[in-house]
């Protein structure tokens, strides 16, 4: 059971390393989108500090969404997805493995880079801490929710936009609570309420998304 989870993850991680470009593109993108702001806004640290949580979170969501297209598409084209569906393991487990690998190569770099960007925006250490926690809770949820959208639109005409259309509304709560947590902590209110809601979303997503994505894959490959 766990062996197969590990196997899928390893596979996708090796593939990501062989195509490092894709990983870096996401990260690159995130950094550039975020870095543009201070350039534009000018160095008034007060303003920067105010907009920081929103900017980082929006950039993170955009960057993860960009990477979604690759989650199942390549496997679909070369037939390996079909074989994955024929594995005697529960498909939702395999999907979970793929999503975890996807998160490891797109979400984790964002999380790691975020503190640097936070500093650039003059955020306090505490604010950065909360930003980090909110991203750690939020980015896997984004990947999980995105997986459902990606699976549903596999091989469909106009897949790219459709994914955004299907998935963005579901991202809104994550964005609201994620950016909300940082803002609350920066403005002195506690971030706990927001963070626990974010945690709840993650748990919900962990329970339902792999299952829904698996069902969607079965439909898409019919």
């Amino acid at each position: 059971m766990l062996a197969v989870l590990r196997c899928v993850m390893m596979r996708d991680l090796i593939l990501a390393v062989r195509r490092l470009s894709d990983v870096l593109t996401t990260l690159f993108f995130f950094v550039i989108v975020v870095s543009l702001f201070p350039l534009g806004v000018g160095p008034e640290i007060e303003v920067l500090r105010m907009i920081a949580p929103g900017v980082v979170w929006v950039a993170a969501i955009l960057a993860s969404m960009l990477a979604l297209g690759r989650l199942f598409e390549n496997d679909y084209r070369d037939g390996t997805l079909e074989q994955l569906l024929l594995s005697p393991q529960p498909l939702s487990l395999l999907v979970l493995g793929k999503v975890m690998a996807h998160w490891a190569v797109t979400g984790v770099p964002l999380v790691l880079v975020a503190p640097l960007l936070g500093m650039q925006f003059g955020m306090s250490a505490q604010g950065i801490g909360v930003l980090l926690i909110s991203l750690i809770l939020g980015t896997p949820a984004i990947s999980l929710i995105g997986a459902v959208g990606a699976a549903l639109t596999l091989g469909v005409r106009g897949g790219g936009v459709l994914v955004s259309l299907l998935v963005l509304p579901l991202y809104i709560p994550v964005l609201i609570f994620g950016a909300g947590a940082v803002e609350a902590s920066v403005s002195g209110l506690g971030a706990e309420a927001h963070l626990s809601l974010l945690g709840a979303i993650l748990v919900l997503a962990l329970c339902f998304a792999p299952w829904a994505a698996a069902a969607a894959l079965r439909i898409s490959l019919d």
Binding site: A3, V4, C7, V8, M10, R11, I14, L15, R18, R19, D78, G79, T80, E82, Q83, L84, L85, L86, S87, P88, Q89, P90, L94, R218, L221, D222
Partner: protein, 206 residues
């Protein structure tokens, strides 16, 4: 063991086939025949549980394959038109990962041996991207040497293979059938495979 009852398939507006039924025991070979586009691939994918039948059902040891999915998949190998290989991985990696996902961890020497068995000595460590068409197919076929599954569903397995490989695949199929395995096959080539019982399903243009 495998029983198909009154299967029908619809694609887009077209009804590809209807009323297809057969039953298969250990040692049986089933040829699925039909012109291009008659629905052979669709039927094979249906037998794997990938396509949901419009009508009818498929039983494995008396159980519907959709209710006993995991046990069924454990006893099944499917090779389709696509080789299901990752271009960026080597043949060895591809083989080991595919098998691991199918539930069997294969040690490196065993995988090596399987690749050498299909005549890929010296190509194990090349990324599959650079292999020739037939070599890619052979990497995919190397699974057959490793699997324990009794039911093999092969969609035109002889494509792109040279004569020597066709011969050795043929022998492999015959051995499997002799050992009590089952083979479901489509092919447009005339290749005679010896088996105790040979069945045929012909899909006519509907």
């Amino acid at each position: 063991m495998l029983e198909a009852i009154n299967l029908a398939a619809v694609r887009g507006d077209r009804r590809l086939f209807a009323g297809v039924g057969f039953s298969l025991q250990g040692g049986d070979l089933l040829y699925v025949q039909g012109a291009n586009g008659s629905g052979k691939t669709t039927l094979l994918r249906m037998l794997c549980g990938l396509v949901i039948p419009e009508e009818g059902k498929i039983l494995w040891s008396q159980e519907d394959i959709r209710s006993e999915r995991e046990a069924y998949l454990q006893s099944l190998v499917y090779l389709g038109h696509l080789c299901a290989l990752k271009d960026d991985l080597t043949g060895l990696e591809n083989l080991r990962i595919t098998e691991a996902l199918a539930g069997e961890e294969i040690s490196e020497p065993r995988a090596m041996a399987a690749l050498q068995g299909v005549g890929l000595n010296g190509y194990e460590d090349l990324p599959v991207r650079v292999l020739s068409q037939g070599q890619r197919r052979r990497v995919a076929l190397a699974r057959l040497a490793l699997t324990q599954a009794p039911l093999w569903i092969l969609d035109e397995p002889f494509t792109a293979l040279d004569k020597a490989s066709v011969g050795s695949l043929k022998t492999r199929l015959e051995d499997h059938l002799e050992d009590g395995g089952m083979v479901i096959l489509t092919t447009h080539q005339e290749i005679e495979i010896k088996a105790a019982v040979i069945k045929q399903v012909a899909l006519a243009e509907y």
